[in-house]
């Protein structure tokens, strides 16, 4: 916004006139942001703080009707959650490691598929718009509907996946299980990647469309191969988008709950015991909300640390990133 200075104004007048809008300009952001802060407090901060409070309580089934009666547990819940030699800590650590592996694989695959599809759709060809719409279907479909459909596909006896693998002679007489045992890990990876990659695709495509075409043309004239053009133009210029995309995908995947819950219910196989579900089981199935909250706080601290370090290292959101 630029202020047009009147040509014949005296310096004092001009200063006074300028001060007026400046003051309200200082207030304006706060006024505008106030509703957001209010709802942020209501929806996120207050529940979060009460969650932190609960983590210090022995809030078990005996007290869920009257939270205020729950005894103070101090750091007891944290101690049990972090005692990796005990059954509760051991379970939490196992769940954390599974979730970490799951997140790395899902984020990598979702980004890779998103990049491939964006590259495809960004070039001119007939029916390009159809593909663009088609790629967004998994993202537009309601989570529960699509995951329930996946659970049918992954059924051992009647599922389409085993039928396909059988027809291709990739499996023998005994079809594998996908929803129990070790394969359950791959079942949840597949389902989550399928659900998440269109988001990566959308973000990357938006980023690609802002890259000037001249750069590619110049590179082509200089004889750069498609690979070199991708490696030296697309990838560096997508860095701001990739920086934000990665952290969002990381946070979503690490906190993934719906897919695991719909596929496995409250008792997932050990290979697919994702952290959010693990915490849910401790809270709502085993009715120990204190312990579940302590685990949630630990998860929050971990995610916060990763996010802060990531933003610092990759300077996400800062201007220098684009340079």
């Amino acid at each position: 916004m630029t202020a047009v200075r009147e040509p014949v104004a005296r310096p004092e007048e001009a200063r006074a006139r300028r001060r007026q809008p400046l003051l309200s300009r200082r207030r304006l952001p706060y006024v505008l942001i106030a509703p957001a802060i209010l709802f942020e407090l209501l929806i996120h901060v207050i529940p979060l703080l009460s969650g932190v409070g609960i983590s210090f309580l022995g809030l078990t089934q005996f007290f869920i009707r009257n939270w205020t009666q729950a005894p103070f547990a101090g750091l007891g819940n944290y101690r049990r959650a972090l005692d990796f030699g005990g059954p509760i800590g051991e379970g939490l650590l196992h769940s954390f490691l599974i979730t970490a592996a799951f997140t790395v694989i899902v984020v990598a695959l979702a980004w890779g598929m998103g990049m491939l599809a964006a590259q495809l759709v960004n070039s001119e060809f007939r029916g390009q718009r159809w593909f663009r719409t088609l790629f967004l279907v998994p993202y537009a479909a309601p989570v529960y509907v699509s995951v329930i459909a996946w659970s049918f596909l992954l059924d051992r006896d009647n599922g389409a996946l085993n039928k396909l693998l059988g027809d291709l002679h990739l499996i023998g007489d005994e079809p594998p299980f996908w929803l129990i045992g070790t394969n359950a890990f791959w079942a949840i990876v597949m389902t989550t990647v399928w659900r998440l990659w269109p988001f990566a695709f959308l973000m990357i495509l938006a980023g690609m469309q802002s890259i000037p075409k001249e750069l590619y043309e110049a590179a082509e004239v200089d004889g750069a191969s498609p690979w070199r053009r991708w490696r030296h133009i697309t990838l560096p210029l997508l860095r701001p988008v990739t920086g934000v995309l990665m952290i969002i995908l990381f946070l979503w995947t690490f906190n993934e709950f719906n897919t695991a819950y719909v596929l496995f219910g409250p008792a997932p196989p050990s290979s697919a015991d994702l952290l959010s579900l693990h915490i849910y089981v401790n809270s709502f199935v085993n009715l120990n909300f204190g312990l579940g909250s302590a685990m949630s706080v630990l998860l929050l601290v971990f995610l916060l640390l990763v996010t802060v370090v990531y933003i610092r290292v990759f300077r996400v959101g800062s201007d220098r990133l684009a340079a």
Partner: protein
């Protein structure tokens, strides 16, 4: 960035006002309070569990009962049928928030767990009288309505019991009789397991199980462990890994991997209908299930004459021939209800002899009140068998506050073992013991804090 303090104050005040508003809105009650004896015009909310073959069937049966109740008392009952898999969570969520229905169904094995939350009205004194008193109920069913020595917070509604379903045609073809002991059972199952289409793989199985179901698994650990003389708890101390329980669990999970009499695919069955469907299609000769499976068999198109029900096989030489836990559905009244008199009236109505006949007949369950039991509707050979098992060979699952957690830990352990049995073959006793030991440790840790 630092915000001017007045803005923070203003935002905080706004947030507080919004919270107060939200809480006030939640706390509101849209109906006027009632006085007992003047129930007409009241509306109560009721959560029903899924007892029929489909939720639609439940809706129909409950709507009809509600219409009869309205005619009799003028009270409107708004009901919601909640699938079994969601019921426990819905109840605990309602307990936590204080916003729930007036009357609800609970699995009777949860009675002590939910009793400990204090969320339900205890049935004592006038409140017990208001629903017709303790004496009208069958004592076996009434035993599973809360922890021993405490006032019950639920009363029985539907009686359920395990029994052995067998396919009459397949038994006749193979010249078999329903087995009585565990070794006869395994032997019979082996004879029924066949390759009928000549592709070298069995496609007809002796037995079917819901290997992915936490609750079914926990029940079998209890029943078979008890047959060996084991107990899941010694007072408050979990004893899941005693040799008796290990043996019972090993016998069960190895029906797939070692005895090869159940389809490995059973390891992922969890929804309560798949074993019945497999049985109805003649793909399996036997399955052990609760009496409401008769509904699922009917829905799957199997005629009642095509199958029989026998007593659950008992471990050879057992001194404790337990064939079922005291299974069933109970009724509770939420302590937060503003319409307690109407709620109690609905409980009384549902447990009246006439309604007991109607409801249990519709759902294939057993009446829980003495007067309804003698109704000819329940004199069919199958229901007589179930009734006999429930009267003579039943014990309640441990009535402890941690029953819910117990089912989860044991059920999970068995699910893992059955999964191993299906994918890797026979599971050794040492592996069973290790899994149960781990469940035991988790249970001890969970109840310790």
């Amino acid at each position: 960035m630092s915000f001017p303090s007045r803005i923070i104050r203003a935002s905080a005040a706004g947030a507080l006002a919004a919270v107060v508003f939200a809480v006030a809105a939640c706390g509101g009650d849209d109906s006027s309070s009632e006085s007992s004896g003047k129930l007409k015009g009241a509306t109560i909310n009721y959560w029903a569990s899924n007892q029929g073959a489909t939720i639609d069937q439940d809706n129909q049966v409950i709507s009809e009962a509600a219409a009869r109740f309205k005619k009799e008392t003028g009270v409107t009952v708004k009901h919601k049928v909640i699938p079994w898999s969601d019921l426990f969570t819905n109840i605990t969520t309602a307990t936590t928030s204080g916003k729930g229905p007036d009357v609800l169904n609970i699995g009777n094995t949860w009675s002590a767990t939910l009793q400990a939350t204090g969320a339900f009205v205890p049935f004592e004194g006038d409140d017990l009288k208001a629903v017709g008193g303790k004496e009208k109920f069958l004592q076996t069913s009434f035993a599973a309505s809360g922890a021993p020595g405490e006032e019950p917070t639920s009363v029985p509604l539907y009686g359920l019991s395990y029994g052995l379903f067998y396919n009459k045609k397949l038994f006749k073809e193979a010249g078999l009789q329903p087995p009585k002991t565990w070794s006869e059972f395994v032997d019979t199952a082996k004879q029924l397991t066949k390759d009928t289409d000549g592709d070298g793989k069995p496609d007809q199985w002796g037995f079917a199980m819901e290997g992915g179901s936490i609750t079914e698994n926990a029940h079998f650990a209890f029943i078979l462990g008890r047959q060996n003389g084991g107990e899941l708890f010694d007072g408050n101390k979990p004893t899941f890994d005693t040799p008796e329980i290990v043996q019972g669990v090993s016998d069960y999970v190895n029906l797939i991997g070692r005895d090869k009499v159940a389809d490995p695919g059973n390891a992922q069955y969890a929804d309560g209908t798949r074993t019945a469907n497999q049985f109805a299609k003649g793909k399996t000769g036997m399955f052990i299930y609760q009496n409401n499976a008769e509904n699922n068999l009917k829905a799957a198109g199997m005629e009642k004459s095509a199958y029989g029900v026998a007593e659950v096989p008992v471990k050879d030489g057992s001194d404790t021939p337990i064939m079922t836990h005291v299974a069933g559905i109970n009724l509770s009244v939420f302590a937060n209800t503003k319409k307690k008199a109407a709620a109690l009236e609905w409980v009384k109505f549902l447990t009246s002899p006439e309604e007991q006949v109607q409801l249990n007949q519709s759902f294939g369950s057993l009446p829980v009140v003495k007067q309804a039991q003698s109704d000819p509707a329940f004199a069919t050979p199958n229901l007589k068998t179930f009734n006999g098992i429930l009267a003579e060979n039943a014990e309640p699952m441990p009535l402890i506050p941690e029953e819910g957690q117990m089912e989860t830990f044991i059920g999970e352990a068995l699910k893992g073992l059955i999964s191993d049995s299906a994918t890797k073959g026979a599971v050794s006793d040492a592996e069973v013991e290790a899994a149960l030991k781990s469940a035991n440790e988790k249970m001890a840790a969970a109840s310790g804090g």
